[in-house]
Symmetry: C2
Subunit: 557 residues, 2 copies
């Protein structure tokens, strides 16, 4: 018994915002029984992952230890917490636990992936308890920017863990449960060994604001507009959808929702019972016939996503609806760092149409779903954990959060993906470094981020590509000239003639001079051709392209 230990191993989400996946284990070293909290994705970008569809955590370690995995718990239905579930579940095959709304979203995802949904278990909030292996797990309602977000109270023989999930302190979150300090006080009473805590807004020095503070300014704003109003926010922010819809209704506007995610989230909220009194909505077909001043659209695409409804509207007609001079577009949202270019593109496209574009006006029309520093500190004090592990943050967030905890005398450390920590000892200690990383969903295939596939794409994207074909006859003599095709490279360079022709000329000269021994070796010939291609390209256009050489050897018959 004395050899049993409590371990913590983030596989994603620790050292980044996104792709959350946290493992806890309890038992003898190497034989700990495991649970996984969350299994999310992060989103690709052109800089580092062009053409990739989704980025998932590398769960190789967990797959190799799947026989020890008791269960998967999903704290809430944001993509960075649930998005990888259907993609990776077949490799993990453990029962999944979630609350109703989250469960409904999980069900849709599993269903689409052809996974039987009976692996999914819907859990009521504390005091309901899931007993798996050495763990007793309860879902504790917290306020966030999606319904039924939960912290987890994980009781183990080594003590209590409170895994906060994503949360804010909101006494009136409009949809879902308010933050309840008494409940947390009660949880704290029995003693908290470890608090694993959201770090997203650790750098924000102001107390967070309630979702409820938005109703009046949004209502006044929408009532003051004279044309059509189009508002965007995260589809999963059901409370915001409700606030926006009620404001529209109050100003005599019909409400129309655009974008698949909107419908999906709204129906999940209704089906799971978390949303009961949403104003009536009209279809796009009906909306077309409603005077613009009596219409409000609530649309997807707050982050400038190219295929979302907002971007479609910024390019022209969408489902028969279009924006024009005198209309208003409202971002009831914040731009996530990295998405600025897409958001600005849409703003300017609307500006060209004469549409008034309004952002969150410094928080007047949007509030964050994460606890700010003073709120986080209040919860530290409320729970008084022995150990605080910052999670859900980039390295700089985790570091700041750990510093704050340590300044209060709480044992803390910066724990990033792949660091397996022993939480049984007085201070958290690294016991092993697990290889982690990113897995790409690329088309329909999962590939490793370091497999070189995407690296090659980036290189072609930056440098262009030259293809060289040479045919070598039975006697190791080149048959005709090399054939060159270029892609993604300037047609003409310094000499004023075609780059392809220049390379072909240079290769012809080389092949003429080349001795049989060189021509006979695929490797040497390949290397020599590459060198010439790059050299000519550099001289002509100042770039070193990627080069593919195809050597076809005619077999002696």
């Amino acid at each position: 018994m004395t050899k049993d230990r409590l371990i913590y191993l983030p596989l994603g989400g620790a050292g980044e915002i996104g792709m959350n996946a946290y493992v806890y284990g309890y038992g003898p070293e190497g034989k700990e029984r495991l649970i996984l909290v969350d299994l999310g994705v992060t989103f690709p970008d052109m800089d580092s992952s062009p053409g990739v569809d989704l980025i998932l955590p590398d769960t190789a370690w967990l797959e190799a230890n799947a026989h020890r995995l008791e269960a998967i718990f999903i704290t809430h239905a944001h993509e960075d917490h649930i998005g990888a579930l259907a993609h990776l579940w077949p490799r993990l095959k453990a029962p999944v636990y979630a609350r109703r709304f989250t469960g409904r979203i999980a069900e849709m995802k599993l269903d689409e992936a052809g996974i039987a949904t009976d692996i999914l278990h819907i859990v009521a909030p504390r005091p309901d308890t899931v007993n798996v292996g050495p763990f007793k797990v309860q879902f504790v309602p917290v306020s966030h920017s999606i319904p039924e977000s939960s912290a987890l109270v994980i009781d183990t023989p080594a003590g209590r863990i409170v895994h906060t999930g994503d949360f804010k302190l909101d006494g009136n979150p409009i949809v879902g449960e308010a933050f309840d300090p008494l409940l947390w006080h009660e949880i704290a009473k029995e003693g908290v060994r470890v608090m694993t805590c959201d770090s997203t807004n650790i750098f924000n020095p102001n107390p967070g604001r309630s979702e409820a503070t938005l109703a009046v300014p949004l209502g006044e704003f929408i009532a003051a507009q004279t044309g059509m109003v189009v508002a965007t926010t995260f589809a999963s922010n059901v409370a915001r959808l409700k606030t926006l819809a009620e404001a529209a209704q109050a100003s005599g506007r019909s409400i129309c929702m655009l974008g698949r995610a909107m419908k999906k989230m709204l129906s999940a909220a209704v089906e799971s019972g978390v949303l009961t009194d949403f104003p009536p909505i009209v279809t796009p077909e009906e909306a077309v016939h409603i005077p613009r001043e009596n219409l409000m659209l609530i649309v997807t695409g707050s982050q400038g996503e190219r295929r979302a409804a907002s971007a479609q509207l910024s390019r022209g007609k969408y489902l028969g609806l279009s924006m024009k001079d005198g209309d208003t577009f409202l971002f009831s949202s914040k731009t996530i760092p990295g998405n600025e270019r897409g958001v600005i593109r849409i703003m300017n496209a609307f500006s060209e149409m004469g549409v008034e574009v309004v952002d969150d006006r410094g928080g007047l029309y949007h509030t964050s779903g994460h606890a700010n520093r003073p709120d986080l500190e209040a919860v530290h004090d409320l729970l008084a954990p022995e150990i605080l592990i910052p999670m859900h943050g980039e390295h700089r967030h985790l570091r700041e959060h750990a510093k704050i905890a340590m300044a209060k005398g709480i044992a803390s450390d910066v724990v990033t993906n792949g660091m397996m920590m022993d939480l049984t000892t007085s201070r958290p200690q690294v016991v092993e470094y697990i290889e982690t990383g990113r897995t790409y969903l690329d088309g329909t295939v999962l590939i490793g981020a370091l497999d070189g596939v995407v690296r090659d794409r980036i290189r072609m994207g930056l440098n262009g590509h030259v293809l060289v074909t040479v045919i070598i006859d039975e006697d190791d003599v080149p048959l005709g000239d090399a054939w060159v095709e270029t892609m993604g490279l300037a047609d003409k360079g310094r000499s004023g003639s075609s780059l392809g022709d220049q390379i072909e000329d240079e290769l012809a000269e080389f092949l003429e001079r080349a001795n049989n021994k060189l021509v006979a070796s695929d490797q040497k010939l390949d290397e020599a051709i590459r060198r010439i291609v790059r050299q000519v390209s550099m001289e002509e256009i100042g770039k070193k392209p990627e080069v593919s050489v195809v050597i076809s050897r005619l077999a002696a018959e």
Copy 2:
């Protein structure tokens, strides 16, 4: 005489922030004598211009009318105003006018490009006047974030134009001239026909702050640090360099400048006489031997640029210097939208080293070089122009600026790149749409943004590339099987075997069945092969790659 007109034609900078190039003309329609104000660049990104080195305005129209171009005026030495000068001058060949500091930077650029610098004329500020064709042009000192920034007063027979350039209202800009309301009052007295005005900060509702307000907070901050301090800002912000250096000196620190741009700007500032009393600096070789607590580095790379000094330090040792636990890195700068990812990458890399990373703390350690809305309005009122043309802004900025002007009864309009405006009539009127756009410096070659070269690179970057080689003999019969190479694509897909092999098998089967007529036609064979490659790829990996087909036909001998 009555047929002469005054025209304005932005070729860059109107509808975007960057790539400034504004044409003014006066004379009979189609025969106006022209001047160009500024010739800047904008910077590429992976999303839209991977692998591109610089983005320049498309000056085709101006090149075609180069015989009418009297002169080029450069308002200041920021890259978005001067960066294209050396690249495009050979196509325009007009004399260039600038003040000393700007001229020194221009000289370096022309020199590097092998252009004789005698085309460059250094002009003193107003009342000095450049007479070119029908224009009398004066440089009017304004405060901005680079020394000797200037507005232009352009007198024409149709009245006075004030082209503000980039400016802020700063009574104490540390380096260079303060904003002088009396000077502007005097300019306004003679009547202003047109004000062409900076719009960058039109959405900022607060009065701008002087560069001088930073000295105390920066001084206190630097004095409070116990390790090495590294600060970054734009190298061209010579005033900031001075404030930082003086703060370092006051706290007993030696100053070391890292990054080529730093040295270039500092020496240009000294050589041109705008900077006279900069604290002494030490070389990196000397800095290595100075205790960290007595050292401050001022480095390039405030925007997270991968090759700048800040990024080099974030990756480890740079010129013998490296950061460590207890050191401080200060961004005395703002992140330009679109650069967030690069900046955040550096912040986290420093965080991993234990370095304290501090941003501008909401303006405490940085102030903008552009006038905010109240400042802009003050200048509108001071100059009281008949017409206000917003420039230097995205569409949304120009639109907002025009609305504000019109609300005051000033004639205004949103004028974007390529709109040739007649400014002689009571309200500005579009007289012609000129084809404009972007020119890419790609390696050493200038290519059009719409030439398809970069589009092909983006496609390869997103979709990967499959190369197919087939050899067809003298009788139109395939010689052996097709040869397939893939680049940037998953090795294995749904079937579990190599994607390349799968495609080759499918192509072999196709070639076996294909009739002579199809094989005899390059076009038909190419199309058929492409279709098969895409189909197999879609089935195997869920992606449609770019395809290049090389058909080699053996000539009948």
